[in-house]
């Protein structure tokens, strides 16, 4: 053991030697596949609007390039510094979430039911703070959990973690951005599980969350259209033309793909705009329709590899902070992938969660690259 460790210790100065190449490749595969799906989803509309047919893909490629730079930046320093600055990150996160609510500084699309998020407008780009809140919360919780005294979190510890998570979560929920709230819940849940929280306490937390959500619905915090999408999930035959139009069209698109798909660029549902929000939340329909079951399975396989690598990194890390960071990132990607694809194929309610690296949108792309950067960082410096 010592011998082996000693051999590796000699290489510790050059963390790049420990790059998780597999994770890099699979991320690249997802991002590039995303460009192709996005092109197919947006081509007809853009031509119809007399814009260049590559307009959106180009913007997405630029964003991905920026994301790549951010990722390298995150990899360049030891991830343990994050623990030091976790409090600042957390505080900055809360401040931005509050700022974005101030009219004139933050923006929201009033009357546009599909855009519930709030953002800051920087030139031609929209920065959605709630995307970065996911990563910020992971860092903060990892810092808190890694500093716990007892091997198993006490009730006090759990309550502290919950209180820390509740502040940004509440602000996101009030935007109202149910999708991101769900992702944050999953991050907290995943990290608490790995931290060894007692099952009884986890169950109590789950109940408390459900009660809080029910209360929020009762008090009218949730907008009608969001409620309608959630209840539409329970009764898909009701009112096809309005609430369930999206999910029916999405199912038709995915189902009509069959085993081998209709061929790239040949999906009628895709090309004729039958699936709304096709380049953002419903982009998986393109994979389903044009590449069929085989293509969808391969595509989901990329995510499976990504998640395997993330959990593996959590496992390999000798440092609890690294383990918790990787756990949080894995939870984040898993829940986003599952809820997004599940909503497209009709087993999850429509909540507006983007498909990581694929849905059109700058903030999620950047935030996800940062998350991958954290994973790679933990992997590179796992022996220290």
């Amino acid at each position: 053991m010592d011998l082996v460790a000693g051999r590796y210790t000699s290489q510790e100065r050059r963390p790049i030697r420990h790059l998780d190449l597999m994770l890099v490749l699979v991320t690249a595969a997802i991002v590039v596949a995303g460009f192709f799906l996005l092109y197919s989803a947006t081509k007809t509309t853009l031509i119809g609007e007399n814009q260049g047919q590559f307009a959106r893909v180009q913007k997405q490629i630029v964003t991905a390039a920026i994301g790549l730079v951010l990722m390298l930046l995150v990899m360049s320093f030891d991830y343990r510094f994050l623990k030091v600055y976790a409090g600042f990150i957390y505080a900055g996160m809360i401040v931005t979430l509050l700022l974005v609510r101030i009219p004139g500084i933050g923006s929201t699309a009033i009357g546009d039911a599909s855009a519930a998020q709030r953002w800051f407008a920087f030139g031609g780009f929209q920065v959605t703070p709630s995307e970065f809140v996911k990563v910020g919360l992971i860092v903060m919780l990892a810092a808190v959990l890694s500093e716990l005294r007892s091997p198993i979190p006490t009730l006090n510890d759990v309550l502290r973690v919950c209180a820390i998570a509740a502040v940004p979560m509440g602000l996101v929920f009030l935007q109202p951005d149910i999708g991101t709230t769900i992702v944050l819940l999953a991050i907290v849940g995943g990290m608490l599980v790995v931290a060894g929280t007692r099952p009884r306490q986890l169950a109590a937390l789950a109940v408390a969350t459900i009660v809080a959500l029910a209360l929020a619905f009762q008090l009218g915090v949730i907008k009608d259209y969001q409620l309608a999408r959630l209840t539409g999930f329970l009764d898909p035959t009701a009112d096809t033309q309005t609430t369930n139009y999206n999910r029916n069209q999405a199912e038709i698109a995915v189902g009509s793909g069959g085993v081998l798909g209709r061929g790239y660029g040949a999906g009628t549902q895709t090309n004729l705009d039958f699936v709304p929000e096709q380049h953002t939340d419903f982009i998986f329909t393109v994979a389903g329709e044009e590449f069929g079951f085989v293509g969808s399975a391969i595509f989901l396989g990329f995510y499976a590899i990504l998640l395997w690598r993330a959990i593996r990194i959590a496992y390999l890390s000798k440092d609890p902070f690294g383990t918790y960071l990787a756990t949080g990132v894995a939870s984040m990607f898993a829940i986003q992938m599952f809820v997004n694809v599940g909503m497209v194929i009709g087993i999850m309610p429509i909540t507006g969660i983007p498909l990581p690296f694929v849905s059109y949108g700058g903030s999620q792309m950047l935030a996800n690259f940062v998350a991958i950067g954290i994973l790679l960082n933990v992997h590179m410096r796992r022996f220290k």
């Binding site: 609890p320 383990t323 599940g342």
Partner: protein
């Protein structure tokens, strides 16, 4: 982190479950249920725009167009577009002023449940061209409003042959569900009655189709293919417009004339009512109907704009129900016009012979009958015994009572074996008791009563099939019921040597290039079981009816030597109403061409009302000068 590794397995398990759930669902959608989704995807993107085909025309044998198409400008309103414009009230008010239609009515048309919501709904037809121009030039003032050229039925000959051609109407809900009407749309016109109904599949044509691919907004992205509409086939009738026109006129004139005369058959000194009647002219060699009229009639043009409540009441609810074609759609007691057919059955079965003489008393009682049932002749005095020919000329009932009784006796003794009703069987062979196989809807069967009929109607025949049944059948009375068309078919067979032809109104069906798609007539296969001698004997006897018999007054002055008419009068009692007046005939008797049958409800004696109408019809048929009203005399 030993503990953490086992907890990471919990996390990994969660993730694995997620993939399992997604994979299962994808398997269901893309492998198991894919076909259904493929269909839905195709339905999503393809729309078929249809253009109506011009309906086939209906023309007479002499080339007159009975039913044509006329263009009509129709105003249609797309409710969804109109309401989306937010100016619905203003637009409807403008439209109301322009079309002179109350807003209330416009709204009612727009909410017509016959149409789907996405279909533009017609609110006005036959609008003037300047309305079209006005609306077209101000499109933005009339959102959702369009003026569309459509086609409606047109009747250049007016009321002529109204019962034959029938009418079209909007397809009905039940029809849409009927597999016969597969491919029809919600707003399609279909034949409702007459030839329009009978030949719907030929007249209809094929709609033009334009298949397009649309996007989610409904905009056309690409046209896949277009097929122009194919007009329906034209019907060329056996009906001759000139004769049809003349027959309708003569039927009307005869009825008018009858109403000025006393009902001599009724004997109460009342005027004849003669409210209704029918006349059929048939080509005896083919069964082709040269003319067929039913009175009272109606104007097919009423249906073009939709019948008014008054017209509906007149057509369907009034006592005479003018919508009914009396030539085929109602049954009547034939009376004495049945006698030639009975005589042939009696000659064939040996109850009569051409050389025999038969008693013609004023009254006849069935041998051995003590019930007091007395059957009377039309004459109250006993006439001298006569042969069969004479019995036809003078229409002696009592001679036929005996024949009927003889048939009944044979049946009772079962002397005919298993097929023991030769009387009924022979009469049915002429085409009775079964709907005339004419190419028109609504043909009625009528009744030739027999033992089974008696068993089915114990209220009329409490003692079963008694002699009176066959006795009354022998003079076409009792429960016997026929249609005028069946009589025309039978007399055609009498004229052509015993061939019963399938009656038909359509001669041929031609497509829009004039090539024949189908020929309808030419079915004269049934051969009646009578010898030429028997048929000739009866034909000769029927000629004496017009020269010196019951119809001689009606045919007084008619050139019978050039155009001999073989005919038979009939006066069917129908208490409490006045008798049904019949004349059934064919001519020229030496080389028969036409069978003419006239029936007048409550027209009294056959000689009095029906025979003179037939005489005038022959005058038209043979191009003779048409005589004024003739008095046909009071003869059965």
């Amino acid at each position: 982190m030993e503990k953490a590794s086992s907890r990471l397995k919990v996390l990994a398990l969660f993730v694995a479950l997620m993939f399992a759930a997604l994979g299962t669902r994808l398997w269901f959608l893309q492998v198991l249920a894919s076909e259904q989704f493929r269909v839905e995807a195709d339905n999503n993107q393809t729309r078929v725009a249809e253009t109506d085909a011009l309906r086939g025309r209906i023309k007479t044998a002499d080339g007159k167009v009975l039913v044509d198409n006329a263009p009509s400008l129709e105003v249609r309103v797309d409710k969804q577009v109109l309401e989306a414009s937010g100016e619905a009230d203003r637009v409807l008010l403008d439209l109301s002023n322009l079309l002179q239609i109350p807003v209330k009515n416009l709204r009612a048309s727009m909410n017509d449940p016959k149409y789907f919501d996405y279909q533009p709904k017609p609110v006005a037809e036959f609008v003037k061209e300047n309305v079209d121009k006005y609306i077209s030039e101000r499109k933005d003032q009339f959102p959702g409003v369009e003026v569309v050229p459509t086609s409606v039925r047109d009747y250049p000959q007016g009321r002529e042959a109204a019962h034959i051609v029938g009418n079209v109407g909007l397809i009905q809900k039940e029809q849409l569900a009927d597999p016969h009407y597969r491919g029809y749309g919600q707003s399609d016109l279909v034949g409702r009655t007459g030839l329009e109904l009978q030949y719907e599949k030929y007249l209809r044509g094929t709609k033009g189709q334009q298949k397009v691919i649309v996007n989610a907004a409904g905009d056309t992205v690409k046209t896949l293919g277009a097929a122009p509409p194919k007009p329906g086939n034209d019907l060329i009738l056996t009906v001759d417009s000139k004769i049809q026109h003349a027959v309708e006129g003569e039927l009307y004139r005869g009825l008018q004339n009858a109403r000025t005369q006393v009902d001599e058959a009724g004997g109460k000194g009342l005027l004849l009512k003669a409210p209704a009647g029918a006349a059929v002219v048939m080509d005896v060699k083919t069964g082709g109907i040269v003319a067929m009229a039913s009175y009272p009639s109606f104007d097919p043009r009423w249906f073009v704009k939709g019948i008014t409540p008054d017209q509906a009441r007149y057509l369907y609810k009034s006592a005479q129900a003018p919508s009914v074609d009396r030539a085929i759609g109602l049954t009547y007691k034939p009376g004495s016009i049945f006698k030639p057919l009975v005589a042939l059955a009696a000659l064939k079965e040996g109850y009569a012979s051409t050389s025999g003489y038969y008693a013609c008393p004023a009254e006849w009682i069935a041998p051995g009958d003590t019930s007091g049932a007395v059957f009377t002749n039309w004459s109250s005095t006993d006439l001298a015994p006569m042969n069969v020919a004479e019995s036809l000329r003078t229409s002696c009932d009592t001679v036929y009572y005996q024949f009927g009784y003889d048939f009944w006796n044979g049946w009772r003794r079962d002397s005919f074996g298993t097929n023991n009703e030769p009387f009924q069987r022979d009469l049915r062979q002429w085409g009775f008791a079964t709907p005339a196989p004419v190419d028109l809807p609504g043909s009625q069967a009528g009744v030739i009563p027999d033992a089974k009929f008696a068993a089915d109607h114990p209220d009329i025949y409490p003692d079963g099939w008694i002699p009176g049944g066959d006795v009354l059948l022998s003079i076409g009375s009792g429960d016997t019921l026929v249609t005028p068309l069946q009589m025309a078919s039978a007399y055609s067979a009498l004229a052509n040597g015993g061939h019963v032809c399938r009656p038909h109104v359509v001669d041929k069906i031609v497509d829009d290039h004039g090539s024949v798609v189908k020929t309808v007539g030419g079915h004269c296969d049934t051969q009646l079981p009578y010898t030429p001698a028997q048929l000739n004997y009866v034909d000769a006897a029927l000629q004496t009816v017009t020269t010196s018999g019951t119809a001689s007054s009606a045919f007084a002055g008619f050139p019978l030597s050039t155009y001999p008419v073989a005919g038979k009068t009939g006066t069917a009692e129908r208490p409490p109403f006045q008798s049904t007046s019949w004349f059934s005939s064919f001519a020229p008797a030496n080389d028969p061409r036409y069978a003419v049958v006239v029936m007048v409800e409550q027209g009294g004696y056959g000689s009095q009302t029906a025979a003179p109408i037939a005489r005038h019809i022959y005058e038209h048929l043979f191009g003779l000068s048409v005589s004024g009203n003739v008095y046909g005399g009071a003869a059965d």
